[in-house]
Symmetry: C2
Subunit: 699 residues, 2 copies
């Protein structure tokens, strides 16, 4: 059995895990009739939204596929379509599991905390394994088909494989930016709208069935935090592993036939870590201390530790047991690549730890926001913004140290392997994250169905951990995206020299077109963030008006005599989110093309390429900070509110609590719409630049 | 009379204008005894604060001066001391005029709007002309002394003049970052604290004499918006003009003795524009429409238009009437430099216009925030953040276009001349800005002294314009700082090649140490912003507690039976601001040194220099966005509140108004502390790098 077949089999193993575990989850009891009725409404809303979202994206997708077919040929177009469909499918399946596991988790929580945790975490693990498994399958099957079946070669003149993999990544990225942004706008418009008019104006608690926006809010958790996030991580996985393979083909010379084997190494690492991730899921169990976060970390730690020998084994196999000889014309050996991969695992651990520090209720940052809430809305927001700015420092230093060490060990490929190792854990990390919306929904269903208070206490405990794991995943996603983008940038410069050897492109900081490119690149995340925030504000405003109108039209809602029209609000948010996601999503697709042509026209083609390259780096540099500050700040605001609700600084209903609710509202679009969407945005800019290069070379 | 003498005479003219106009201002009536008593309290507080601030800075200054004397010699140390003292002096005189003009403006407003406007604007113009005049004198006298008296030459081996000018700029920058940050923390801690406990908790209006923080708030306007801003613009002026001269000496070869003449051109342009600025001030008069902003723009426009032939004349003189011949070994002629200068004026105009669009009550951005206030605190802040992100786009595009055009016309020196022309208008722009705190105080004094309502209406009208002019100046300051920093960066790379010709420093984006430098540089404004915001939040919290304590200790305050202890609050804010300003101010001084040594140690000296260079550019790229978003966003929040107070969306006291007050509070440290302080921070990083280079070369 050759190595690529092993990777495919391990990818299939993840799918098998998903199918088997789905059955287990679906087999467990779905609660009372009332609970099922509520869950059905959420399912219906989520399905309706995703259907509409995907049909809209399909239109864009078909246009892009045709353009790719005409410029780069049918194989690239096929790669794009595969990436797009699988990215969408991941989100769709994840959402479908999530909206069925929510009510079952609420039912299981009636039995006990462990039962609720097991169910919710398994649901998350299904999504996690599907993300990693489908992503691995997409690349490895496509790679196997191109090299094994149609007989394309790598490393020589034939660029088919490299371009096809890039197009695959583009398909995944394009869907994921739409899914992240559309889902992000949906979830936060519904959440903010529901909170503003429910909690603040009408004075009814969260998830109160009298709030007409309550179903939309719960739908949002699934289409944003689950479907959007799954598509995003699928994309990051495909891009990172794909880019590492592409960069191997571009950089490593003199390997001959062994290049094929070397190129499958990232796939093998991905496959091996699927196995360690599956093993890790079985270690997520409450200890005697009943610490939920501790149970999660146990699972993650087992996966991380088992991955060390697993990755070593993969490298050992591809190097035929020779870890000491240099690889091809490069200055590093198998052992160096192992250290780089280990570095990726360490970076993952450090970023998780730092994110937890900035968003956990037991540390200074969250507590400082909670304390600032005592003096009002204004000081809460000021302190939250200060924390969001500060939270960029440590992850940046970790990433910078990672870049330096990886580069010292194995050059650009060292950075690529560090990123690949980070992403190899995606199955486990997504499992932690996708658990969040399930427990969030479970709490909502428990509240709406009027379950016992102690059930709500359990779902609340599960949900609180979900807030932290969601923040942690975002830190991980943006950190790995930063490294992946650097790999893509390296692919761009390498490709450029390959395609246009006659051009003398000056990437020096002394070239003013490089400065221009950096500035324009740095602008993109700001503009994109502005559009995302505005969209949420506008759509949330519509929700507020709709809910107010419903209260006015049906005065019996507040006395439980009339039922609000949930579907009307869901429909309204759906339309708003779809409308708002289009233009910002196209920004990173069109900007690189525009910059290349405009600067090329003013300063000549070489400067056009220089400015475009600088734009890519500008997007990474600025996007990293925008995304880190938004996701950490948002998580800190959220948990500062939770900390106050736990009885500090006056507790629920106090003035400090009101201020904290404002901070949480501000943090919502920060952490769930604009911030995480920067992530696919960074990569899409880079991938479009790579495809533009290929198209220019072909044309 | 040689050219440099002309520059010195024109600089002295600004001082004469300042002295003559001061007399006029001080001669006008200072109002009733009660008004004078209030004004005396403000004067006393401002003086006490500045005294404490300058004594603290003096300690740092003496240490730095000694270090400079030991590493670069006594001439550089002298330059540093001159820059530091004059920067401080500018702020000190500006503040002294401001705290005397405030009460006189209130008194004059009793006579009519034009009388109030004339007085307040003249007070601003004094500060403006002193900034431009003292800055011009500092450079030209020092330059004249070094070249004319001690006989140092420029353009050859002797680096004394270049280093002395850099040290002069360093002195100005170091003081200005302390002044900007210390003053910024003082003013916003007092303002936020006063608002939170006064407006929000006690329900008393702004500037109510019962609020113990009211004098501190008014003191803050003077030490922050006037003294801090004056020191900042003094610094930007010195740095820009100085860097243009330094870059001329470094880049232009084969000029022989004509190099001296060419180097005085930036001084001449500065001098000529002082004359046009003084003329412009006499055109600030209300037309029949009584439009105050229109009166301001009339003055600015006259200055800008008169400056065009004036600048042409300066270039014509230094080129002996030959505008067509190439200059030295460069590929541009006098006419090209003229177009670059004109470009600087156009950039100034466009940035003023864009800033007004984003912060004026008549346009979409401010109105969208006002509208979002209807649905609560959260949506107000979300929309404000969205606007603050969006507001970076157009200025960036203007700056990018400016860089491209200037570079096409005259290379790096083209960019330097565009920046010099921008700064040449500093006298007029600072006049518009320094007018702000005078009218702000005048309103406060009118309120506290219980003047007639129609007086308060007039001071309010004057003050509203002040909000816009303050925002406009900040956009101008950061835009010009961006260009100036690029000039400094060019000086760094040129210097590097001069000092270390044997080192092959790779500034390419493909060098990972460049990426590392960019990331670390981009981090600095975030970390600095976080520190500034936290400081304001913390100090404002102290003010809230103090005011609450005073209300508790003296229950008679609310019924006017007891007088609050204003001095106690002023003292508290003073201590807090001084304590909080130290560490963030040292960040940009120490970071370049640390990055050079750490990266040099890891990757070798050449990579240390590469990472340091990238750090400088990273600070510029990221700082530009952080500063633009903070200053524009803050201004928009402020005016959204004003727009609601003018009777829209429910007017004063409505829920929308409460939400808008929250937004205004959040915007305060954004626009008046963290945002503008990024400005000197960007330049100080660059200057420290230049001095480090010189010290390494000398050592």
């Amino acid at each position: 059995m050759n190595l690529i077949t092993i990777a495919i089999v391990l990818g299939l193993l993840a799918i098998v895990y998903g199918v088997v575990t789905s059955r287990q989850v679906l087999r467990s009891p779905a609660g009372s009739e009332k609970m099922q009725e509520i869950a059905a409404a959420i399912q219906e809303g989520a399905q309706a939204y995703l259907k509409r979202q995907y049909s809209t994206i399909a239109v864009v997708g078909v246009i892009v596929a045709i353009i790719l077919a005409l410029t780069l040929g049918p194989i690239s177009a096929t790669g794009f379509v595969i990436g797009a469909i699988l990215s969408g499918l991941t989100g769709f399946i994840g959402m479908n599991i999530s909206v069925r596991a929510n009510v079952r988790t609420a039912a299981a929580a009636q039995k006990g905390l462990q039962a609720g945790l097991t169910l919710a975490f398994r649901a998350g693990a299904i999504t996690g394994m599907l993300v990693a498994g489908l992503a691995l399958l997409a690349i490895s099957v496509f790679f196997w088909y191109l090299t094994g079946v149609t007989g394309h070669t790598v490393g020589g003149e034939d660029r088919t494989v490299v371009e096809a993999l890039t197009a695959l990544a583009f398909g995944a990225s394009l869907i994921s930016i739409f899914a992240r942004l559309g889902g992000g706008i949906f979830t936060k418009a519904a959440d903010v709208g529901a909170d503003l008019v429910g909690k603040v104006e009408a004075g009814i608690p969260e998830d109160d069935p009298r709030n007409p926006a309550v179903i939309a809010d719960n739908v949002g958790d699934n289409v944003g935090d689950c479907a959007g996030m799954a598509a995003d991580l699928f994309e990051t996985y495909v891009v990172t592993v794909g880019a590492t393979m592409v960069l191997s083909a571009l950089l490593v010379k003199d390997l001959g036939d062994a290049l094929m084997t070397f190129m499958t190494l990232p796939l093998l690492i991905g496959g091996a870590c699927i196995v360690t991730s599956i093993i890790g899921t079985y270690f997520v169990r409450l200890g005697s201390s009943q610490n939920i976060m501790g149970a999660m970390y146990k699972g993650f730690l087992v996966t991380a530790i088992l991955s060390i020998p697993a990755i070593y084994g993969c490298i050992w196999v591809t190097q035929q047991g020779d870890m000491a000889s240099l690889i091809g014309n490069q200055a590093f050996n198998g052992m160096d690549l192992f250290w780089c991969s280990l570095l990726g695992l360490v970076i993952t651990g450090l970023i998780i730890w730092i994110t937890e520090y900035y968003t956990g209720t037991q540390y200074r940052p969250v507590r400082s926001i909670a304390k600032a809430s005592e003096t009002g809305h204004g000081t809460n927001v000021i302190q939250g913004l200060a924390i969001s700015l500060e939270a960029t420092a440590l992850p940046t230093i970790v990433i910078v140290a990672g870049i330096i060490i990886a580069y010292q060990l194995a050059g650009l490929l060292g950075i690529a392997y560090a990123a690949t190792a980070m992403l190899a854990l995606a199955g486990m990390v997504v499992a932690l994250d996708a658990y969040g919306p399930v427990t969030d929904n479970a709490g909502g269903i428990a509240e709406m169905a009027g379950l016992d208070d102690n059930v709500r206490t359990k779902t609340d405990a599960l949900d609180a951990v979900g807030n932290t794991t969601k923040a942690v995943t975002k830190g991980y996603a943006i950190g790995s995206a930063g490294l992946a983008a650097l790999v893509l940038f390296a692919a761009y410069t390498t490709d450029l020299r390959e395609f246009f050897p006659q051009l003398d492109v000056d990437f020096s900081l002394e070239n003013p077109y490089v400065i221009v490119g950096l500035l324009l690149g740095a602008l993109l995340p700001y503009l994109f963030g502005a559009m995302g925030m505005t969209a949420v504000g506008r759509a949330a405003g519509d929700v507020v008006l709709d809910v107010r109108a419903q209260f006015r039209e049906k005065p019996g809602i507040m006395t439980y005599e009339e039922k609000p029209d949930y579907a009307r609000t869901v429909d309204l948010v759906t339309k708003a989110a779809i409308k708002e996601m289009i233009i910002p999503s196209l920004l990173p697709v069109l900007a690189p093309i525009a910059v290349y042509y405009v600067i090329g026209w003013v300063g000549g083609q070489a400067n056009g390429f220089a400015a475009l390259g600088a734009l890519l780096l500008g997007v990474i540099v600025s996007g990293l900070f925008v995304a880190l500050s938004m996701t950490s700040g948002g998580g800190a605001w959220d948990n500062a509110k939770k900390y106050i609700e736990d009885g500090h600084h006056g507790g629920k209903g106090s003035d400090a609590h009101k201020a904290a609710v404002t901070g949480d509202t501000v943090g919502d679009p920060y952490k769930d719409t604009a911030g995480p969407a920067v992530n696919p945005m960074i990569k899409i800019t880079n991938i479009v630049a790579l495809l533009l290069l290929a198209a220019l070379a072909a044309g």
